[in-house]
Homo-oligomer: 325 residues x 2
């Protein structure tokens, strides 16, 4: 087969008609029209083969996940997706890989109403590197910022925790092989669902929010630092995924408290919002669990059912744990 | 030295106070407030070590150029910069490199009033990969789109052409060593100036515009394809950079017509705009030269001073000239 130009590759795999009112792929810039009275929310993530995904992983699932992790940032801000861009650096042109990747990407892009409006593809890479930027809109002053938690707020978590961590450990071999368990938790790792509807409902209702992509303790820690307050987290209330059943206590606790790659929202809200949030949970058919409280001071305490503090290492996923020169 | 976390790296090299009304680095998303009545222009570019820049190149100049090539896309759309994001994948943490890169990046970011509001840094890469996304605003219906050229339009080019191509050839050794010549043209390749002021003035004045990053023939070809019209390009009028003096005719012609990495604007405008554009050229102290005309039909002809057509290969820089699997 002949070498294939950059422009053919974009047209073949990635170009879709732009929604009305937008200018999509094919000009120097894309053009969007954010709604009046809205702020623009922007997030960017880079995924590197061998670090954020396996080289031999399923490209369709990768296409989904690469976009999902970015959409999760919009969800955590309470923003509605507007559009996204994709930059892709490839060591070689593999048509089957590209087709499957594009299929997974476009399927979620369509579901989330987040059209791909611009991109860049390049060769000469020694490994696959993806960079996605998402843009969304959120009514002015209603964004769910990290620095907005207030003393006396309830602390909530959506969904169930720990599945992605266990899936990763099973796939990496740091837990003994267990195909049934892996079947239960693999989709949490590979095709997570960004909580966009939840995020949009929470804008104007909740105070602070964050997604738990780096682990609950670490990400909640960011909220506390930014909001200059403290929190109690009630260990027994934390909703664990069914795939954690029967595992060693330490492994379970670690997965729930520190396991990364969780695209659920952790948020704070005034106690008078409890009924509203419980109703929302029913409407969305999504568990939303009250797991603690924000208090004055600094630091994060994890408490057992009797209110005793449990020592836990505060840690999570560090994207750059390599030594420097 | 100890390993350094992702968050320290961002804080140390890249975090700057966000301008008033914006939320910058440190939340799930950045928040911007585009002006009412404006469209949002978005462009993204990925740069890969060994392909778009030399591994041993000056990191300060790289920081400048990485942002400049993206700002040039905003200029070509007639947009005013609003903010940018930067994702950076690194094989190792090299503090001196990062500091110099960040200095070059921030200096241009400040000059262009395009604050860095979000980003991502990651390790585990086998080579340096950068991805920048720029966002700008342009008054609705005034963006300089590729599909807006009209029959009878004049064809204009800003600045002078060919310098980056000659610099690249000298540095790669495909032209014999010539330190004086390299000194003349190196900055065009390494620290190009995006034509932001020109682009903003042209919004609402010119019809189509594009930057010449892939070479004049190829980029003008994109305008003609998108606008479904043809053009004559007058070879003798094309403004050549002083560094081309004394070079072989074929090398000069090739550099001017097909040399990439030129961050000048090629645009079309109604002939009644000539005086306005000439005045603008004086105000900006930037040559703006009328180099041809848009006509009915398809295709691009290059004509000599006697109006005879000159055969030229229509080509430019292809970002993906590798063979596929």
């Amino acid at each position: 087969m002949q070498p294939q130009g950059e422009f053919d590759l974009i047209a073949r795999y990635f170009k879709r008609p732009a929604p009305s009112g937008m200018l999509g792929i094919g000009d120097d810039c894309a053009l969007l029209s954010p709604a009046q009275g809205c702020d623009l929310a922007v997030s960017t993530d880079m995924l590197v083969e061998g670090r954020h995904f396996f080289a031999d992983g399923d490209p369709r699932r990768l296409g989904h996940k690469a976009l999902a992790v970015n959409l999760s940032d919009l969800a955590a801000m309470g923003a509605r997706p507007l559009a996204c861009t994709l930059a892709l650096s490839l060591p070689r042109l593999d048509n089957a890989w590209l087709q499957a990747f594009a299929d997974g990407f476009h399927a979620l892009s369509r579901d989330a109403q987040c059209p791909l409006v611009g991109g860049d593809t390049t060769g000469g890479a020694r490994q696959v590197v993806l960079c996605i930027t998402v843009m969304g809109e959120v009514r002015r002053h209603q964004a769910l910022r990290r620095d907005a938690a207030r003393q006396g707020d309830d602390l909530w978590v959506s969904g169930v925790l720990g599945a992605a961590d266990i899936a990763l450990r099973l796939m990496q071999g740091s837990l003994p092989p267990d195909p049934d368990r892996l079947a239960l938790c693999r989709s949490a790792l590979e095709t997570p669902t960004p909580r966009l509807r939840l995020g949009r409902y929470l804008a104007g209702v909740a105070h602070a929010a964050i997604d738990i992509s780096d682990g609950l303790l670490q990400d909640l820690g960011h909220v506390l630092d930014a909001s200059q307050c403290a929190a109690d987290l009630w260990l027994d209330t934390l909703p664990a995924h069914a795939a954690l059943a029967g595992l060693d206590d330490t492994v379970r606790r670690d997965a729930v408290l520190a396991g990364g790659d969780v695209y659920e929202l952790c948020f704070t809200a005034h106690p008078r919002r409890r009924e509203q949030i419980t109703t929302l949970s029913r409407q969305l058919k999504l568990p939303i669990t009250r797991v603690g409280a924000i208090r004055r001071g600094t630091g994060l305490r994890v408490l057992d059912a009797l209110g005793r503090e449990i020592p836990v290492p505060r840690r999570g996923f560090d994207h750059f744990s390599i030594s420097q020169t």
